[in-house]
Symmetry: C2
Subunit: 442 residues, 2 copies
């Protein structure tokens, strides 16, 4: 497109925008007109008409900010940069629902309400440890493949990084995400209700590459992945998951894993519960059956209505949550921007609906690009709030057609007793006439 | 695929892998066979046959590492994580080619040899400042659109984040990247020769959204973007670039911009030289002509053979560099893994060739997924080094068909005098019989 064509386009945009402003209409509630105008323009128009943004400016006398009049901070000889001091509240945090008297078998959560885009910075990826964070020197760390293989193999980190690597964008979620808030409000913020969730660019070697080198024997049907941490955390993983898409990951978001995220090597099982992505990985043993380890008997199992417990339910099914406005925030009457994340361990996010009336009626939210497989997807929705009490929630559907259930839906097929895993239920926030947003589960 | 089918597949993979091992052949030099076997397997086979990785392990008596016997570091109440102490050398660094006696108008470079995957962590994104890093409080920062618009507008940061955002993966490169090393070796490492280059997930609002709200007047052909820093750095940007794909960015890699990267708001012009992505952005003024600012007359221009200087050459053309092995490293005879990055401001990377003999012969490197538009793309190539002296380099071609030039190619159309910008030339590393890798430009 040449400059002249572009100018014509920009003129037509201006005219359309003027029409919007003069009509002072709420475009996002008028699907027919939105379709006519085209999406980008409609959003811009909506923003303007709904008073999202700008104030009229007297541009002749722009004030010169102080920062333009002074020299800034110089560059040090070498450094590793940190966030602005104005962002100091954006931190990982432990649970505040109960007092965990030790902090070795513990977790800390990602501040989802502050996350922008779709990736979680390495410093904010959630943590879950069964016996603290080990200190592992990558120069001495070894990873061994053994059991039902033609030839047991030992790899140093220097060996592993030489193999062709793959780089994938994926969310990771702890199966215990939301376990404190099934039946009644316990947590205040979305960091506490949903923060055992992060998303990153993971880099590593396909498990299949190294298994092929070791030679998988015919009888091998499961792998035992074990960590070099103080709990020797381990999980049994089916051979098809290992060969299909599992990775031996050594980097996240462009640099070596952080110590708390498995440095120098972890298993990564896309779309599956976080604890199967075993950190500080030291061995993978192939066998004929699962090992029925502590983390697949005493932990990470699902109580069923008949009193039995289901093992090996490792897929993280489709889920979504509104991150803004969310618990602890206060809104004012007028235009409200709803934002949140949706994700599925089984594919892409197809759509997200929003309710403002506790599930009676639903309206479609916009998905923001990029919409990637097994990744956080951001959604937005705008409306005008008149100050009446509300109950807001999001509900997602993924590319398999699976619809995010309510707690009542889940109760029909599972028992909700104790520290229950796999809470992917629709999650409501209440708003009172003062605009205060609170957890409204149950 | 069910488990049984998968097992069959894994068996066929094992057989193929065994054939590779017995043949002890170098598959990556045998394209026909590689095609037959399929890519993933061929690479795995190549790795095994070429001895990239594993040692045979006596798996019966696996040693238990110390970290399995001790409790790890507990989780603090709240934190923002940092890299492992074992990664402390991975830092941004200033130039070591000459002594810059002040560090206000300065730059620091990304450690590309340590970057994994394709994204640069926020703490390592390169810096270039014209008067240091300003301290800007986002609660008081204002962004103004004025000049040839229907209605001048002023936005707070709280306003801007309410607009529908987009999230894009893009490289960013300083037009001065490589300016010290056109004609003779000056820099030792790839951090010094090519480190004014980073890649991130950028989140913000399309400039077009806010321009449409202000109303672009017919006469507007250029925009003046100005920063709130001590140099009031500013650039003229054509209206079509602003409307097509430029963003008002407030976040990188999932969190608010770091202070040194423009906190709280910057222009982002995908594929264009970094200085047009004006940081600490405080205003955008539309006009009929470019402003011929200091940064488009005294700086950021290209000397031509006829003695004139070219202005406004802002696209960053296709370029690539080998990051490993690279300057300062030492290799040993045997299998050598070549890795590097390729990128283009004009599209996707189509291919990368490698020479080991100073450009006489070229072989195709593998591109690693994801290959994204205007993004860093990782390439790999393996070969067996016999200890003879070598001159290695990479050369890329992008999706427009543009081939990365040599310095000699560039000399035919431009003059190389002074601090010359836009060095996208093929860059060679020499290897001596001791395996020492050094800058071999010129």
């Amino acid at each position: 497109m040449n400059n002249q064509d572009k100018l014509k386009l920009s003129q037509s945009l201006v005219s359309a925008s003027e029409k919007e402003l003069s009509a002072n209409s709420s475009i996002s509630h008028n699907p027919k007109r939105r379709a006519l105008l085209g999406q980008t323009l409609a959003y811009a128009g909506a923003a303007g008409a709904m008073g999202l943004g700008a104030k009229s400016a007297l541009a002749q006398n722009l004030p010169i900010p102080e920062s333009n009049k002074t020299m800034g901070r110089p560059i040090p000889p070498e450094d590793y940069g940190m966030p602005s001091k104005y962002e100091s509240k954006v931190k990982r945090r432990r649970t505040d629902v109960f007092v965990n008297r030790q902090n070795f078998s513990d977790w800390s959560m990602t501040p989802l309400a502050s996350q922008l885009g779709t990736m979680t910075p390495n410093g904010l990826i959630f943590e879950r440890h069964h016996n603290g964070i080990p200190d592992i020197n990558p120069d001495v760390h070894k990873f061994v493949i053994h059991g039902l293989v033609r030839q047991p193999l030992e790899f140093s980190m220097a060996d592993i990084v030489k193999y062709p690597s793959v780089t994938k964008f994926h969310f990771m979620e702890c199966s215990g995400n939301g376990l404190t808030d099934w039946l009644a409000p316990k947590s205040k913020t979305v960091q506490q209700t949903h923060g055992l969730l992060s998303c990153a660019q993971w880099t590593g070697v396909p498990v299949s590459t190294l298994l092929e080198e070791a030679g998988v024997l015919k009888e091998a049907k499961w792998g035992l992945a074990e960590g070099a941490d103080g709990s020797a955390h381990a999980r049994s993983i089916p051979i098809d998951k290992l060969l299909n898409d599992s990775l031996l990951v050594y980097a996240s978001n462009g640099e070596m894993l952080r110590p708390e995220n498995g440095y120098p090597l972890r298993m990564f099982t896309p779309g599956w519960e976080g604890n199967t992505s075993v950190k500080w990985l030291r061995r993978l043993k192939l066998g004929t059956e699962p090992w029925h380890l502590r983390s697949e008997t005493a932990r990470y199992t699902d109580p069923m209505p008949d009193g039995k417990w289901r093992q090996f339910s490792m897929e993280m099914e489709a889920k979504s949550v509104i991150t803004s406005p969310s618990g602890g925030m206060t809104i004012r009457p007028g235009v409200v921007q709803v934002q949140g994340f949706a994700w599925s361990g089984n594919g892409k996010i197809r759509g997200v609906d929003i309710t403002l009336d506790g599930g009676k009626t639903w309206r479609e939210a916009r998905l923001e690009e990029p919409v990637m497989d097994q990744c956080l997807t951001r959604f937005r929705y705008e409306f005008k709030w008149d100050g009446s009490p509300m109950k807001m929630a999001s509900r997602t559907v993924d590319s398999t057609g699976y619809v995010q259930p309510t707690v009542d839906d889940i109760k029909k097929v599972r028992a909700i007793v104790g520290f229950v895993q796999h809470n992917n239920a629709v999650f409501p926030w209440a708003v009172n006439p003062a605009g205060e947003v609170t957890n409204a589960i149950g």
